[in-house]
Amino acid sequence: MKIQNAFEVSFARLFDERFVALYRYLDRLSGDPDLAEDLAQEAFVRLHRRGEIPNDARAWLVAVASNLFRDERRRVKRRQSLLARQPADLTLGMPPSSPDDDAERGDRKIRVRRALDRLSLRDREMLLLRHEGYSYREIASALGVVESGVGTMLIRATDAFRASFNEKDNAPD
């Protein structure tokens, strides 16, 4: 099928430019590649449904994707509290792992994942957006914080991440 109009040409171009970055951000944020793919795709579905490209499309997409992730996280927490079966500290970012998975992952990878999951959601989002190349303005817009505070918050998030990564109890089991 041929793409029909100027919007869809722009949309397809934006998809080619931004999908992988959005996926990577969500993958790092959640630790779940399937969820990351679903959410990145859903963000683009919503953009397509919108019918026009927003002025700041990068920030728009990442704001939508972040909201989708927060909604998903809330849903998971609700399910956990209803079922009361899951360990209290289980987060969306740490899907149950099998011995095979553990064997495949390096110690470092596990420690990075744990350190990320221990950060507050705000710190995690901020750090990951920064490392995906988003500007202070885009980060402020996506997370609803003041742009002038982004730099300082990023330094705090970086310190928190490194401290968590280097904690003794973050050693692999």
């Binding site: 683009f44 397509h48 990023l154 970086t158």
Partner: protein
């Protein structure tokens, strides 16, 4: 006056909105601030390296393919909605003595002789189990009846609407795979009414391995016999 944390952060992260020219001038002459900046940059580089370690391979999808998939999904949802509407109508039609039931019986079995209809016992119409499906096809359509039992028949009408519809007088199963409609009568002889939009240029109807109707480039390449209502009827 040393640089603030916000100024050092902006320099670390390459965000050009915050650092002023005074800040840059100060940095050039202040070893303490230069050292603090270097520590922040090293931490930033370390974090970047660590984060790369948890990445999974990203799916490779082209934007044009994604747009195509969105359109296809939209069409499928439309077809499902139409199918649901058709099923609701079918359920209503199955109710004994319902007007829709009566109408459908007349439409589906229009080929039966008036005498046969007149000879039917009077009284409440016996409800028949029935099934149907409706969907909007693409540019081609293949209908496959898997091993239909003799005794049943198929009545095919070309219609002006956009929608393919198939209805059985028994509990047949319908499945739609892209441009193919597959019908399974579960080994029970039954009759089918099939409506196909005239606008579909490529149509093939098969019963098992036998092709009974072919429409190619908008023209019937086989010449099935039309009945008095303009429909094509095939005995299984």
């Amino acid at each position: 006056m040393h640089l603030t944390e916000a100024e050092l952060a902006a320099l670390t992260h390459g965000d050009v909105s915050a650092p002023s020219s005074e800040a840059l001038t100060h940095l050039a002459s202040c070893p303490e601030c230069t050292a603090r900046l270097e520590v922040l940059r090293a931490a930033d580089r370390e974090v970047a390296g660590l984060l790369r370690g948890v990445d999974h391979a990203a799916p490779r999808v082209r934007g044009t393919a994604f747009v195509d998939a969105l359109h296809a999904r939209r069409r499928r949802i439309g077809a499902i909605a139409a199918g649901l509407a058709f099923c609701v109508a079918g359920a209503a039609a199955a109710l004994p003595n319902s007007p829709l039931h009566q109408v459908l019986l007349r439409v589906v079995f229009r080929t039966e002789s008036q005498t046969a209809i007149a000879d039917r016992p009077r009284g409440p119409v016996r409800p028949k189990p029935g099934a149907g499906v409706a969907f909007i096809p693409g540019s081609s359509l293949e209908v496959l009846f898997r091993n239909p039992r003799s005794g049943g028949h198929l009545r095919v009408s070309l219609v002006d609407g956009p929608q393919v519809s198939a209805i059985a007088d028994g509990d047949a199963a319908f499945s739609i795979h892209q441009s193919q409609l597959e019908v399974n009568d579960h080994g029970v002889a039954m009759s089918f009414a099939l409506e196909i939009p005239r606008s579909v240029p490529e149509v093939t109807i098969r019963t098992g391995s036998e092709t009974i109707l072919v429409k190619h480039a908008g023209v019937m390449s086989r010449s099935p016999v039309k009945d008095s209502t303009g429909a094509y009827t095939f005995e299984f």
